[in-house]
């Protein structure tokens, strides 16, 4: 084999190994979720195929005893409100910062900038007291407000886009008698579509996956979102890996679908989000 050929083979080999390392743990959990309690008790080995590939009993259990349906409902409500709020708040802030000159503008920009440096996990000790004093503890409002209020990255994404919209559009609208709010609503907001798509996807996935905030702020079982409801599988299902696996697969599946359909947006979104 030539040196080039060997290098090619090694390249592909490393890719295949990486692929197996990523996919195998997930595939095994998928297989486990299709096994019956009996099969698990017989200790058939993690890599064994289930007897019946269409055995969805564990999924039924996960929905019924694991309360996954109400979890998906709670997640959907929180996701919808907080993502909508983030888009509106972020685009308004970006519009104001980019299109107006006003006193303390620099200070406002600095406030948003410095806030990106404060990692959310560290401040929850004190944030908790504030959320609690508003009476929002153990309600869906706590995560909604926190997701809306602490997302500075999306303001940056909007800011980049607002900058790229020519000011002449604003000016000609103003000559036609439009006020600032009309300009925002009729001109800026519609042109922000690509940025909105990015923010919705990135924010949506982040909210869907978040564990820390719902875990701290919504201890009631009725208010379980998918993360916390799945986390509670640990107790009652103990060593019933077939049930736990079914729950995990249920949570991963929507992510996989979204990823397959929106790949391009997702890559762009996360690159943009991380580099700002």
């Amino acid at each position: 084999m030539t040196r080039r050929g060997l290098a090619r083979t090694l390249t592909y080999l490393s890719l295949v190994v990486a692929g197996v390392v990523v996919l195998l743990p997930l595939l095994v959990v998928l297989l486990t979720s299709l096994k019956s309690e009996k099969e698990m008790a017989n200790d058939s080995g993690a890599l064994q195929l289930p007897d019946n590939l269409l055995n969805f009993d564990n999924y039924v259990t996960a929905f019924q005893d694991g309360r996954m349906l109400s979890a998906f409902g709670n997640t959907a409500v929180i996701l919808l409100i907080s993502v909508t709020g983030t888009v509106i708040i972020g685009s308004m802030a970006a519009y104001a910062i980019d299109r107006f000159t006003f006193r303390f503008r620099k200070l406002v920009v600095a406030l948003f900038l410095v806030a990106t440096l404060v990692p959310g996990v560290t401040t929850q000790v004190a944030t908790f007291q504030i959320v609690d004093s508003f009476g929002m503890f153990d309600s869906r409002w706590a995560p909604i407000v926190l997701y809306m209020g602490t997302d500075i990255v999306s303001i940056y994404i909007f800011l980049q886009f607002v900058r790229s919209i020519p000011v002449s559009l604003d000016e000609s609208a103003r000559l036609d008698g439009a006020n600032a709010f009309t300009i925002y609503r009729k001109i800026i907001f519609p042109l922000l579509k690509p940025a909105i798509a990015t923010v919705v996807i990135v924010k949506g996935i982040t909210v869907y996956n978040d564990f820390y905030i719902p875990f701290l702020y919504m201890p009631s079982e009725d208010l379980g979102v998918i993360s916390t409801s799945l986390f509670r599988f640990k107790g009652p299902f103990g060593a019933h890996w077939e049930n736990i696996s079914a729950g995990a697969v249920l949570v991963i599946l929507p992510t996989l679908l979204v990823f397959l359909f929106l790949q391009r947006y997702i890559y762009n979104g996360f690159t943009r989000g991380a580099t700002k």
């Binding site: 390249t11 592909y12 490393s14 890719l15 990486a18 692929g19 990523v22 743990p25 095994v28 959990v29 486990t32 080995g45 993690a46 890599l47 708040i89 972020g90 308004m92 802030a93 519009y95 104001a96 299109r99 006003f102 406002v108 406030l111 806030a115 440096l117 404060v118 990692p119 996990v121 560290t122 401040t123 929850q124 000790v125 004190a126 944030t127 908790f128 007291q129 504030i130 407000v145 209020g149 602490t150 869907y208 996956n209 564990f211 993360s227 799945l230 986390f231 599988f233 736990i244 696996s245 729950g247 995990a248 949570v251 992510t255 990823f259 790949q263 890559y267 690159t271 991380a274 580099t275």
Partner: protein, 314 residues
């Protein structure tokens, strides 16, 4: 006649001038107010949920408050002294070491895969997707997937027995093994983001550079060293800082998988336990302030090393 008209006209002109001056002032006031109307909601939220907590946290850190009772007393720097002198409180920093080491592995792997996938490779999009997907998965689901992975007779043991290795060890049973396993999970989870960031940076390097290099007889390694490496330096430095702060703030994977048992407690797990289980809000605040200061310091160092405006690849 002309005289009177002039006399009458003058005050008229003056009055209209006054009126003209008045209207703009109102408009100006309204204009001045407009940006603040747009900024009101974001600013109120920002101050209430970011700056007020930081300020409160610093204040709490000098008290012995338990988070519930109305009474609290000022204790000076006592919490900070306790934090740095009680060895079991300080030990959590050593756990961060595992995650730091893991992030070195993670960055090297991400660089490697980004480089080879930036060249023409078959099934490129498939491999890109596979490597990135773990980053999108819910943390709790990942925790369970890997609890089963490291389980006695679970995925890892089964794979090893395929190769004839009969391992009978509890992977999460001893502190070192458990921390290495958890750090490995965090590599599995976060490598994809670094990889996609690097790949984006590499692909934004103009293709002619490679062609020119190839004409000059440069091999792959030389292309990497002289074209790719300088092109991704800003993203690399950003990744390093994200990794350092991520290692210090590691929480989800260890909390979900072991709950901080067998010596896997990280700084954030400890802080959460101090604050919400043991009601030591004062001490927990001091811990959080220390972590915040470390992360700010690391960020500051990075900003000094790499000027800000360079990190702008999109």
């Amino acid at each position: 006649m002309t005289d009177t008209t002039e006399k009458v006209a003058r005050p008229n002109v003056a009055a209209s001038a006054v009126r003209k001056a008045k209207a703009p002032r109102k408009v100006r006031l309204w204009r001045g107010l407009t940006p603040w109307l747009f900024l009101a909601a974001p600013l109120v939220l920002l101050i209430t949920f970011t700056y007020a907590p930081v300020a409160n946290m610093v204040a709490y850190s000098f008290t012995d408050w338990d988070g519930v009772s109305p009474e609290l007393s000022y204790t000076g720097a006592e919490n900070y002294v306790e934090l740095f002198t009680r060895p079991e409180l300080f030990e959590v920093f050593f756990v961060s070491g595992y995650y730091l080491a893991a992030s070195v592995v993670q960055i090297i792997a991400a660089l490697y895969f980004a480089t080879i996938l930036s060249f023409n490779v078959r099934f490129r999009n498939f491999f890109k997707g596979v490597l990135f997907f773990p980053y999108l998965i819910n943390g709790v689901a990942i925790g369970f997937v890997f609890l089963y992975f490291f389980q006695d007779g679970g995925t890892l043991d089964s794979v090893l027995s395929l190769f004839g290795v009969d391992s009978d060890r509890a992977w999460l049973g001893t502190p070192v093994s458990a921390n290495v396993s958890l750090a490995g999970v965090s590599v599995w989870r976060y490598m994809g983001l670094n990889f996609v960031l690097f790949l984006g940076a590499i692909q934004s390097i103009p293709g002619e550079l490679y062609e020119a290099a190839e004409l000059d007889g440069a091999n792959r390694w030389q292309q990497f060293r002289h074209i790719i490496a300088p092109g991704i330096r800003p993203v690399l430095s950003l990744t390093v800082i994200l990794s350092v702060s991520g290692s210090l703030a590691a929480f989800e994977v260890p909390f979900i998988m072991t709950g901080g048992a067998t010596g896997t407690e990280t700084f954030v797990i400890q802080t959460v336990k101090l604050a919400f289980q043991f009601n030591k809000t004062g001490l927990a605040s001091a811990a959080a302030v220390v972590l915040l200061l470390i992360i700010l310091a690391v960020t500051w160092v990075q900003r000094r090393l790499v000027p800000d405006d360079k990190v702008d690849l999109v």
